[in-house]
Amino acid sequence: MTFVRAVWLITRKDLLIEARSKEILLTTLFFSVSCVLVFAFGFVREGRAVENAAAGILWIAIAFSGTLALGRAFERERQSETLRALMIAPIPRPALYLGKLLGIVLLLAAVEAIVVPLVSLMFQAPLFAYPWLTVGLLATGTIGFAAVGTMFAAMLVRARSRDVLLPVLLYPITIPVIIAGVRGTAALLQAEVDLPMARLWLSMLVFFDVVFVTLALWTFEPVMTE
């Protein structure tokens, strides 16, 4: 079986389960909408959002709901030991990682497809004035967050207190993603749009993705081997 095919089969399995149960998609989606709502109560004064709050709210919602989705996606693999079955399967371990990563990224993309327009509407944020840059920031940011998250969630499957350890490990490591996402998006939303700044953050996110996906592919096998 080729590498690419193994990756696709893992992703397809996750998407199929999700398409049938919609468990993670719906819970994550409603969680992120509630998140936006909670932040709205914190950052809306006299009917208008505090300046530049939209970018922060959007990225915090993505990070929080991403953590939830990662936890659930691997909790599902823990029940009836299906992760062990995947590890026994005659496929390269990095393919397993990439397959899970792709599944999480697609899931989060589906959530973002709802949450981003919602934030744009509710906070009068012109998120689609520069659609390519916005999509680029969201895509690279989500991949970076999910690249670290998939690695940590996978290795925590066997650990005790995994629910609380996942965010504890994940947030400090993904701080560059959050900063780049928030600042890059804010550069597009401010009164004087700062395109070079947004591009700078976008290139930093691309760099982050490359480094951390490579690192995860490299360390996945020794970390996951019992």
């Binding site: 670290v148 690695m151 940590f152 290795m155 925590l156 066997r158 650990a159 005790r160 207190s161 350890l165 504890v168 490990l169 947030y171 400090p172 490591i173 701080i175 560059p176 900063i179 780049a180 600042r183 700078l200 930093m204 982050f208 480094v211 951390f212 690192l215 360390t219 020794p222 970390v223 019992e226």
Partner: protein, 218 residues
């Protein structure tokens, strides 16, 4: 290292006794005055902390790919030291900042990246402590990710905002200030190596004790 331990400990102790006199004799900084003296401890500890983080990351990488238990012991010792040095840096920093900038905390590159680094190593220790069996390998993965993360955090916070005296402050120090600074840095480095050695040895003894317990049970 075992033979060098006592002489080095004596040297480090002597250096720490002499350091306050040297710092006292150093010239006063023109704008900050007396409070600037905290720099002679704060900056070397900060540098030792970043060094310790890299020791932990490299130890973890060696452990992960060769499964040498010795590398893991060095990594856990370095992680604990990073956490302790981090607390010292994060306490002395705001003390200085309160006097120099008028605020306890500023979201500047150096401060924020120290805080993030400290959080990563606290997370590492939490994982080792509460992660259950096999958490040594998982923690090694975290340490490698954490080490790779340092330049990203530093760069991103740096672009985000900056206020801390630049790294270039060290070469531009007055000649009278440079001496005590490097003296303290050397003292802390020796102290760091000694503590790292002690802590690693403790971990080794612990593993040996564990092995003896297992052997007697059988």
């Amino acid at each position: 290292m075992n033979k060098l331990f006592v002489p080095l400990a004596v040297v480090a102790a002597a250096m720490f006794v002499y350091a306050p006199f040297m710092i006292l004799a150093a010239p006063y900084e023109s704008t900050m005055g007396l409070v600037q003296k905290i720099f002679y401890f704060h900056a070397p500890i900060g540098m030792t902390m970043f060094m310790s983080a890299f020791v932990c990351g490299i130890g973890s990488a060696i452990f992960l790919f060769t499964r040498r238990p010795g590398a893991d012991r060095v990594a856990v010792a370095a992680a604990e030291l990073t956490a302790i040095l981090g607390i010292i840096v994060l306490v002395t920093g705001p003390l200085w900042a309160r006097k120099a900038w008028g605020v306890w905390w500023e979201w500047d590159a150096r401060l924020t990246s120290s805080l993030v680094l400290w959080l990563i190593f606290e997370a590492y220790l939490l994982l080792r402590r509460y992660g259950g069996p096999g958490s040594d390998r998982l923690a090694a993965g975290v340490a490698i990710f954490g080490m790779a993360n340092v330049p990203f955090v530093y760069w991103s916070v740096n672009v985000w905002r900056t206020m801390h005296p630049k790294t270039s402050v060290v070469p531009t120090l007055l000649p009278g200030m440079r001496g005590p600074f490097w003296f303290c840095f050397l003292a802390f480095t020796i102290f760091y190596v000694l503590t790292l050695h002690l802590r690693t040895r403790l971990e080794k003894r612990r593993a040996e004790l564990e092995a003896v317990y297992l052997a007697t049970e059988e």
